[in-house]
Symmetry: C2
């Protein structure tokens, strides 16, 4: 399934153009011109494209093709900042080829992924003279800053965006080269906890009579989970949807690489001694509370006899269907109150993202898996959910469409880091796999 | 009991000279020349003075006088750093008089206190032509950095330092002007706790499988005490000496200012709802664990989805007789191990200081109290111990002498802070009180 030279050339030129636009959403750089370039690219494929304003960066929307089912691509044209610049071996906004890799910010996340889909469509058009099924594109410009306007956009354009299947923005092979399919993402909600016990920092000799905010916050955090990671907040699991038989079975098919992962991260073992199926079940389907940071008082060398007046911690909750982000914050508040921590203030840092999971048994999921199997000659690894979070819920919830996450990256892609790169061979296989999946979907 | 002009002038000139020497022990500034100046001052009073080297700053030792009992003065010639300089209203190393106050670093702690004792001796010599009892001085240069060499010095010079009574380096009136007497100090030992769970910081989505060091450290801290401050470390209270009847009674005589203290510190109430006798009992006689600082992971604005690899906290234990600082560290280690916290590393930051407490019934304590009552015309407030810590134990333990802490400062002296000051009227009364105490002690 070798790519025609025209498609390879098209892809290379397209990606080179896109990464040259420094569309860093955190810095609000080059967003309108990158949106315009994406619109032009979609129009060149014969699609009708529009730029839809949002309260933040605009969404590029496009649709086209005739007959058959409708597939919607979700991608984003914004990228992470390139810092630290000094660690890049070549300019982050100039696509550079070295030893079979392309290097640049966005070459994987997400301009490379977007380009692979454009290239697959270009190939299909070259073969059929037109697109023999319907496609829609939603390409946003704020994914790297938490997609604050995407859910409202999808909800408002619900009719227009109707689709039979969604291809998610990102995908990868694993370390052994097996193609991965993710059918869900965890939800997330982030909060800060604050305790203040005095008007100002005091001498620690007063600890005999004055409450210590670090102790209070530590005790509050310790009350939230047990040592194996089980969350002790009353009602936290109430909305958790049990795994279906198919979902539970899918965990059995994942090759166990937990030992290699432990070595990679420098950990002695996993929570609750998890390995194999349980390791992957936790990553995909176990909701958890994480503490991201805790700061109070003295942190310099030696000791300082201070009794701090205030302490704070930052937490994120990773959620699974059908947990509700803001409801979890309310459960946290109720838990703290019930356990006597009414001195612990809860501040919601972000509205959060809902968890999302597609039906593993949907024909679209099976078709995507078959396409990957045929293209890679290896058995794909199907994950019912990534451990990470992202704005998948607006699509599963408002459109009701099954979503698969497949793509052209690999574990060394250094997404969000210096020297972001993809292997050209992965890219070409990824384009072929997307094309094959679309063909299967359209019954071609 | 008005001070003679010669004594006032002597005191003012002496203190002005001493504070002009920037003897900041943390910065190792001007320590030898300040020691020499103290030696000269002691010699000018007719005492035999020597400079005794230690592994750190030298000790100035002096003795003199004839007949009667022996009183030992413990003082120090080093001071805290003057930072932040911009908050001083006059130069920290130039004694400045404003509205009945003297301002400078050390004007209270401890050059002002030392000067008050020299002035009292000068006054006695002026009256009697000589010192009609024995005095000894131990003036060290490392009190502000934890007196690391003092205990060894006292132990090695145990014979030479023998005394019937000790006057401690510091004293004060309370907010109502009542003179305070402290007869003890709490001990202290400082440790750091560290937890590392991974080789490097990870993405927080991995919190589903990787242990969180903040949770571990928070749970460990939460296990050390209960909400009222009771320490839950097994064996922690085993060596605590119950209060004698006289000690328990002394708590009843302290005027209850706990409500004013709460307002001053901006706290809503005290640990365990303490007030009155219980408030003062806790400050004087309750051993506690304090957390001075806790740091790990993200502390900036908003949220960051990081799973930190490491967390640390700094603690101090405030101890009472007969707890042993290093034994408490061993009890802490055993507690952590017993409760499954064998991943929490314990690092002892300082060797610590033993608690010390003098016999409230010793004649010397009664004589000091009588002298204060006569001088101030107010009932002195006797505290069996300060809530703070200091190197009193070498004197009570190796010399077996009763110690009282009386002096010339007031609650607004801003010790260790910018604009350190004393009220000149307090200084003069303090000199008179020291003189009166010495006279009573010597039966004059």
């Amino acid at each position: 399934m070798k790519l025609p030279d025209t498609v390879i050339r098209y892809a290379q030129e397209t990606l080179r153009d896109l990464v040259a636009l420094p569309s860093v959403s955190a810095e609000r750089r080059a967003l309108p011109e990158t949106a315009r370039r994406v619109k032009e690219l979609l129009e060149e494929l014969g699609l009708e494209a529009e730029i839809h304003p949002t309260p933040g960066a605009p969404v590029v929307y496009a649709e086209g093709g005739e007959g058959g089912p409708t597939v919607l691509f979700y991608n984003h044209y914004d990228v992470q900042p390139a810092d630290p610049l000094e660690l890049w071996e070549s300019d982050p906004f100039t696509m550079t080829e070295r030893e079979g890799h392309w290097y640049a910010r966005g070459v994987s996340d997400d301009k490379g992924e977007l380009t692979s889909r454009l290239a697959a469509l270009r190939w299909l058009i070259d073969e059929h003279g037109k697109l023999p099924f319907r496609v829609k594109f939603v390409v946003e410009g704020e994914e790297e800053v938490g997609s604050p306007n995407l859910e409202a956009y999808v909800a408002q354009n619900r009719q227009r965006l109707q689709a039979d299947a969604v291809i998610w923005e990102f995908g990868s092979v694993d370390t052994s080269g097996r193609p991965l399919v993710y059918c869900g993402l965890k939800g997330i909600v982030a909060v800060e906890l604050r305790v203040r016990t005095a008007g100002y920092d005091l001498h620690s000799s007063l600890g005999a009579v004055v409450q210590n905010p670090i102790y209070r916050l530590a005790a509050a955090l310790a009350s939230l989970r047990d040592n194996d990671g089980k969350v002790l907040i009353e009602g936290f699991y109430d909305r958790v949807r049990p795994l279906s038989e198919a979902e539970a079975e899918s965990l059995q098919t994942i090759p166990d690489e937990s030992e290699q992962v432990a070595a990679l991260y420098g950990v002695k073992g996993f929570l609750g001694g998890a390995e194999g199926v349980e390791f992957y079940r936790r990553l995909a389907a176990e909701p958890v509370v994480n503490v991201n940071g805790f700061h109070s008082g003295y942190g310099g060398p030696g000791s300082k006899t201070v009794l701090p007046a205030e302490a704070f911690a930052k937490l994120d909750f990773r959620l699974v269907p059908d947990q509700e982000p803001l409801e979890v914050v309310e459960l946290l508040r109720a838990h703290l109150e019930r356990h006597g921590f009414d001195d612990v203030e809860v501040i919601t840092l972000e509205a959060g993202e809902h968890p999302a999971r597609s039906d593993l048994g949907a024909p679209w999921v099976r078709q995507a898996v078959e396409a990957l199997r045929e293209t890679y000659g290896l058995e794909p690894v199907v994950h019912l959910s990534s451990g990470g979070s992202g704005p998948m819920y607006p699509f599963t919830h408002h459109l009701g469409a099954p979503v698969v996450s497949i793509g052209i990256s690999y574990p060394g892609s250094r997404v969000h880091s210096p020297n972001e790169n993809i292997r050209i061979a992965d890219f070409e296989r990824g384009v072929a796999a997307i094309k094959r999946a679309l063909e299967k979907f359209a019954g071609l």
